[in-house]
Amino acid sequence: MSKAQDTMLYLNGVSVAFDGFKAINNLSIIVGPAEMLAIIGPNGAGKTTMMDIITGKTRPDAGDVLFDGRTDLTRLDEAAIANLGIGRKFQKPTVFESHTVWDNLELALKKPRGIFPTLFYAADAPDTARIAAILDQVRLSHRRHELAANLSHGQKQWLEIGMLLAQDPKLLLVDEPVAGMTDSETEETAKLLRDIAGTRSVVVVEHDMSFVRELGSRVVCLAEGAVLAEGSLDQVSANPLVIERYLGR
């Protein structure tokens, strides 16, 4: 277990099968505190499934999943894991469409989640300031009173990133954040994620190689549920296996 100490996320020998199909196969990945890790890999490689396992949506058949060097995530449910400080952005942006942009952020804001604190919650000045700051950061200030349903795809992505920020997590799992964004928006997102990674751990899954390059982080390439290659983007993309199984396609 000594290897797990001082890590933010520690996956060791994790496997999961769906009806006999091994979606994750003996996967081991480590993310340190305030480290950013980019994950690439072909469709169906198991990237999203890996996030499902970390966030408690899917239970692994085998392996260790530890958070912050000690907490066994395989024993906890989604809400408990979220409250530990793990935030997730979904591959398909999922925001609360019949709520306003502001309310989406208010719901995500790190606050007691119990029934009665929620029932009697009233936003105080620091809360409003925090939400306003996040709105600025994700450039949705001008749409704060609109229903989330009326946002464009890219704006929903931003809103979901904003919700992640509001949650103030220690570990962020970000699944394909720039799908549907323009080039300049993509650049902004990379910058934002780099800023966040200054203080927290971030795992980003993305197919967009120029975006991954901008992140400038360590890269892991997954294929068939296991690590195919690992290192800097240049090292990974020069790897013949990666070229054959992913980039060359």
């Binding site: 966030t55 949506k57 449910d77 989604e78 809400a79 979220a82 409250n83 997730r88 979904f90 591959q91 398909k92 999922t94 609360f96 469409e97 019949s98 709520h99 306003t100 309310d103 208010e106 719901l107 995500a108 989640r113 119990g114 029934i115 929620t118 029932l119 009697f120 919650y121 009233a122 229903l147 349903a149 919700m163 949650q167």
Partner: protein, 396 residues
């Protein structure tokens, strides 16, 4: 904290609704008691009780809307909570009969004497006290809903499966209450009431007072529901309705949110039942009929779920229709009800309230907007479209 919550509860719409029902609570009894029969403006006593019955149905529909319209739990068993509240009230009223029953037994209700019972069963003890009975009106439906919800929501039973379970619950209670040895009067239920709080139950003043109590209870229900749905918890409920698993990943315990809404709603339904029984003069197992629970869903759907005023309008309008039909064309009522439901599902997905907003061009309040999203993480969880749920669903 509480004052803030109260302030939030009293938004403009709620103030209007509460104001209307408080005014009705005063005006209708006055028109009944102060204006002599035959003069313009007099409201006959039978009409007072009929209106009181409608208002108790309105409380029931509002209760259903809290779980269905706001939290996405389609309960097809809310009639059970209503009936349990009604039985608790009925038990109090039975004990008030005293020795005036046919058999003249000072303690035992007639049906127990008829069954040759010697003693009052333990669960009838205390019901001679009004306040104990009223506590049971809240406690029994609340406890049943809490236990049912605790197991159902913790096991993540959702959609049609949950609806079927609620239906099975009310059906099981129907069968149980039909049995004579349950001690609730079997088939005949509880009736022939004499007094309530010392006043003769048939008296004009009692009827007027019961009506006023119902209208005030409806106003209070609006206040409570408005307080809940306008709070952050209300937003969480809507989040659960629209994207349950997303809400979990934000760290909310969805099962507790649902349990809270379900229990509060069941208590409201119990209160509605307790107000209903003295005004109609009888409670029998027929109130547990699954068809009754489905009717509540129709009122709410027709009025407009996810709004506070919608279910109230729906309950009153449908029951006015029912009263009219059952006196003029009784055999057609069920067909009319079915047609109403089909039409409202097809043409009025947001109910009468939605139509109002459409016609008068005002955008519906975001909070009541029907969900249009169905995300990939929700797949398989939302079987609402199978359960006659009028919300629009995008193709997947």
């Amino acid at each position: 904290m509480l004052t803030q919550a109260l302030f939030r509860a009293l938004d403009r719409k709620a103030i209007w609704l509460i104001g209307i029902f408080l005014a009705v609570a005063i005006l209708v009894p006055m028109a009944n008691l102060l204006i002599p029969p035959g003069q313009f403006g007099h409201v006959p006593t039978y009409l007072v009780s009929l209106l009181g019955k409608y208002l108790s149905y309105a409380i029931l529909a509002l209760a259903l809307d809290l779980v269905w319209g706001y939290c996405g739990i389609l309960s097809l068993g809310h009639g059970a909570f209503f009936a349990l509240g009604g039985y608790a009230m009925g038990m109090y009223l039975m004990r008030q009969i005293g020795s005036r029953g046919v058999y003249g037994n000072p303690v035992l209700p007639d049906f127990m004497v008829f069954l040759n019972w010697r003693d009052l069963p333990w669960y009838w003890l205390g019901f001679d006290n009004f306040w104990f009975a009223m506590a049971m009106v809240l406690f029994v439906p609340g406890l049943l809903a809490f236990l049912f919800g605790f197991f159902a929501f913790r096991s993540r039973v959702t959609g049609v499966y949950l609806s079927i379970m609620t239906q099975a619950m009310t059906f099981a209670l129907l069968l149980a209450f039909f049995r004579n040895d349950m001690g609730f009067g079997g088939n005949n239920g509880l009736t022939d009431f004499k007094d309530i709080l010392g006043g003769p139950i048939q008296a004009q003043t009692t009827r007027a007072a019961l009506f006023a109590a119902t209208a005030i209870a409806l106003a209070l229900s609006v206040l409570v529901c408005s307080g809940i749905v306008n709070s952050k918890l209300g937003k969480v409920m809507i989040a659960v309705r629209d994207a349950e698993s997303r809400t979990r990943f934000l760290g909310y315990r969805v099962e507790y949110v649902k349990l809270f809404a379900f229990t509060v709603s069941a208590i409201m339904a119990g209160i509605a039942g307790a107000l209903y029984v003295p005004q109609v003069g009888i409670i029998n197992p027929g109130e547990f009929d699954p068809a009754n629970s489905i009717e509540i869903v129709i009122w709410t759907a027709l009025g407009g779920r996810g709004t506070l005023v919608g279910p109230i309008i729906g309950a009153i309008v449908v029951n006015l229709g029912k009263s009219w039909f059952t006196t003029t064309l009784p055999e057609l009522w069920l067909f009319a009800l079915g047609a109403l439901f089909v039409c409202s599902t097809l043409f009025l997905p947001k109910g009468i309230v939605g139509l109002w907003h459409q016609v008068f061009g005002r955008r519906q309040k975001p909070i009541g907007a029907a969900p249009t999203q169905s995300s990939d993480i929700e797949k398989g969880e939302d079987a609402a479209s199978l359960s006659g749920n009028p919300q629009p669903k995008p193709a997947e």
